[in-house]
Each structure stands twice: as structure tokens, then as C-alpha cells.
Symmetry: C2
């Protein structure tokens, strides 16, 4: 359908998607403006009608990524339903699922070397994603006796770090760190043990 003639219709988005594909396959520096334009069936000069330069295209990808990420985490958390613990674990799974399903976004967000201060939108999207994680940690830690409760930010940071580490080391072709366990398995057991250390007793698995 649509006006695929002289005017593209939605080139901005098409360029973002082309670049995401390239980035997912070839790493953060593995895309070029020219190649992204080519994949969108457009001349090499066209992207500059929509982005001031390469940097801005990367920021746009990261921004879209953080938005999507925040959406998925929020959806997984569902305001802590049915229980803070299950919701918390759902967030962990969502983290991993996002990295798996949206590798291009993930790379743009975490491996492209951009700063979240690159744009107001990016900073906002990034903060929103972070807040879901912090909230999940906060709600869950309310169920702990106050004297065993670590600071919420710290709790969230631990879980984020483990999730991120598993993604980087075991969910990609990273240096020789192939493990006999799937990323999902590693995350589930890792978070499980960690939560037990905080005093959450879980049913046996």
C-alpha cells in the first residue's frame, strides 16, 4: 500500500529499523549512514533530512530502546501483581527477553558508548526504565524485616548488574564464556539464591 514512490512516507522510522538490524548483526560501530540508507531504498543523502548526523540516529535508536524496555518492564511488573515476588521475577525475565528480542536496541542502549545526557528524551526514557526496576525492588523489600533490608537502590543495582552481566557474557558470543546453562536458567537460579540470601524463602524448584 502507501506512497512508495518519490516520497517514502516514514523514512525516519525505516532508517532506525535498518540501523538496528545492522547494529544487531555487526556491533555498535557496525552500521553506517550510507548502508542504513541503502537498506531503506533511499539515497545516501536522504537520512540528513531526518537526522542532523550519525550521532543523532544512534540516540534515536537508544531512545526508542529505552522506551520499549520501560514498557516491557512495566507490563511485566503489573503493579506488583499477583505478588511482589512473582512480579519481581517477571521483571527479571522481561530484562532477558528484551535483550534477546531486541538485540539492536540493546546494543544501542548499552554498548554504543552514548551518554544518557545526549538528549532530554533519552535521559527521560532511561530514567523511566530504571524506575521500574527500583520500584520492583522497593515493593519487594517491604516484605523484609527492616533490619535485613538493604537500601532499595542497592537491591535494584544488584539485580540489574546480574541481569546485565548474564546478557553480556552468556547471551551473546562473548569471549569464551559459553556456559552449560541457558541465560534464563542462570538468571532464575541466580536471582533465586540472591533473594534467599535476603530472607525470601522460596518453594523448592
Amino acid at each position: 500500500m502507501s506512497k512508495r514512490g518519490y516520497h517514502h512516507g516514514n523514512l525516519r522510522q525505516a532508517l532506525i529499523e535498518a540501523a538496528l538490524k545492522l547494529i544487531a548483526e555487526n556491533g555498535p560501530r557496525g552500521f553506517t549512514m550510507a548502508e542504513a540508507a541503502k537498506q531503506a531504498n533511499v539515497s545516501a543523502a536522504a537520512p540528513y533530512r531526518h537526522f542532523t548526523g550519525r550521532e543523532e540516529l544512534i540516540v534515536a535508536m537508544a531512545c526508542e530502546g529505552f522506551d520499549l524496555f520501560a514498557d516491557l518492564l512495566e507490563y511485566a511488573y503489573r503493579d506488583g501483581q499477583p505478588s511482589p515476588l512473582t512480579a519481581f521475577e517477571a521483571v527479571g525475565h522481561a530484562y532477558l527477553a528484551f535483550a534477546r528480542k531486541h538485540p539492536g536496541h540493546y546494543v544501542a542502549m548499552f554498548e554504543s558508548g552514548i551518554s544518557p545526557d545526549a538528549s532530554r528524551d533519552l535521559a527521560a526514557a532511561c530514567a523511566r526504565a530504571n524506575q521500574v526496576l527500583v520500584r520492583a525492588a522497593h515493593d519487594l523489600s517491604q516484605h523484609l524485616p527492616a533490619d535485613r533490608r538493604p537500601p532499595t537502590e542497592m537491591f535494584a543495582a544488584h539485580v540489574t548488574a546480574m541481569s546485565h552481566g548474564i546478557v553480556e557474557l552468556y547471551a551473546r558470543g562473548a569471549p569464551g564464556k559459553r556456559s552449560p546453562f541457558s541465560p534464563e536458567e542462570l538468571l532464575e537460579t541466580g536471582i533465586g539464591i540472591y533473594l534467599r540470601g535476603l530472607g525470601f524463602l522460596e518453594p523448592d524448584r
Copy 2:
């Protein structure tokens, strides 16, 4: 001292060090052959007497990095002395210390997108580093009742993932994940809680 005239003396190493410095400052793609040569006070063609190309220089950096890394981890572990638990925690600190003190190596090893199969040396150095982590996990888990003991590889993977995640997210200028806690603090508490989850009771801190 030394023969700084026509012949450099140890250009290979000088190039590696120049590239490490550049990479530490500008990220994995942030060095060029020409720039590394320049920093070593040598013409742009000189590096090709020591490396077949750019890729080989990266591999050399990563290789040196994994060797150094393995040395530091082994030194920290000291065959499990004075106790498996303290030795284990020392390994965690060594992980972080390495990333902090040798950012160039760290980037080459984990963020440059090379495969450990790129060379036999690299694969060996990488495996050696990994083995220290696995051994530390193994020795420590011997102190657990067999029915609460996770597979050694899994144990090691959890700890590696958390360490790596903390480095990537909180020990660098990564996207907006600044935390009120230092990486060392995060790692110490994170591993502490995890170990408690496994059944190691620690003295209060």
C-alpha cells in the same frame, strides 16, 4: 637509555601499550593503527612489521589482558588461603581491581567483539582466567551440604555475571546507571547476599 635511534627496541610492546591507552579512553573502536604508531613515535607503516593487521593487534591486547587477569585472580586466590571464603571474596575484589586498573585490557577483552577462538594463545589465556573462577567456586562449594550445592559452573557463572555487570554498569560512564554506591560496595554486598543465600553465614558487617 636504550637504543632509541633507528631501531626502536621493543616496538611491538610499545604499540600494544599505545593502543591500550587509546582504547581505554575512546572505546573499542577508538584506536587506529596510524594513531597507535604515532604515539609510539614511529611511522604509520611500522606496525606491520609486528602485526599482520589491526585485528592481530587487538587480539594481542586481549591476550595480554587475559594473561594478566588470570595472574591477578590466581594471586588473589592463593590456593584458597587462608580460607575458601576469604579467598573467594579476594577473587571478587581482584576482578573489580583489574577492570579499574587496566581499562584498556578490559575493553579489548570484553567489548571489542573478538572471539576467543581468534588465536590459540587467546583461547588458552581466556580459559586459564576462567578456571581460577571455577576453582574458587568449586572449593568454596565443598563447604556446603551436597543437597544445597549448585553446580560449580553455575555458581561461578553467577558470580562472574554479577561482577561483570557491576563493572559495565557502575564502574564506567554507562547510560545513566550511576548509583549512590561504589562498585566495590555493590560487589561486596551483592556477593555477600548471594553467598548467604547459598548457606554461608557471615559475620555482620
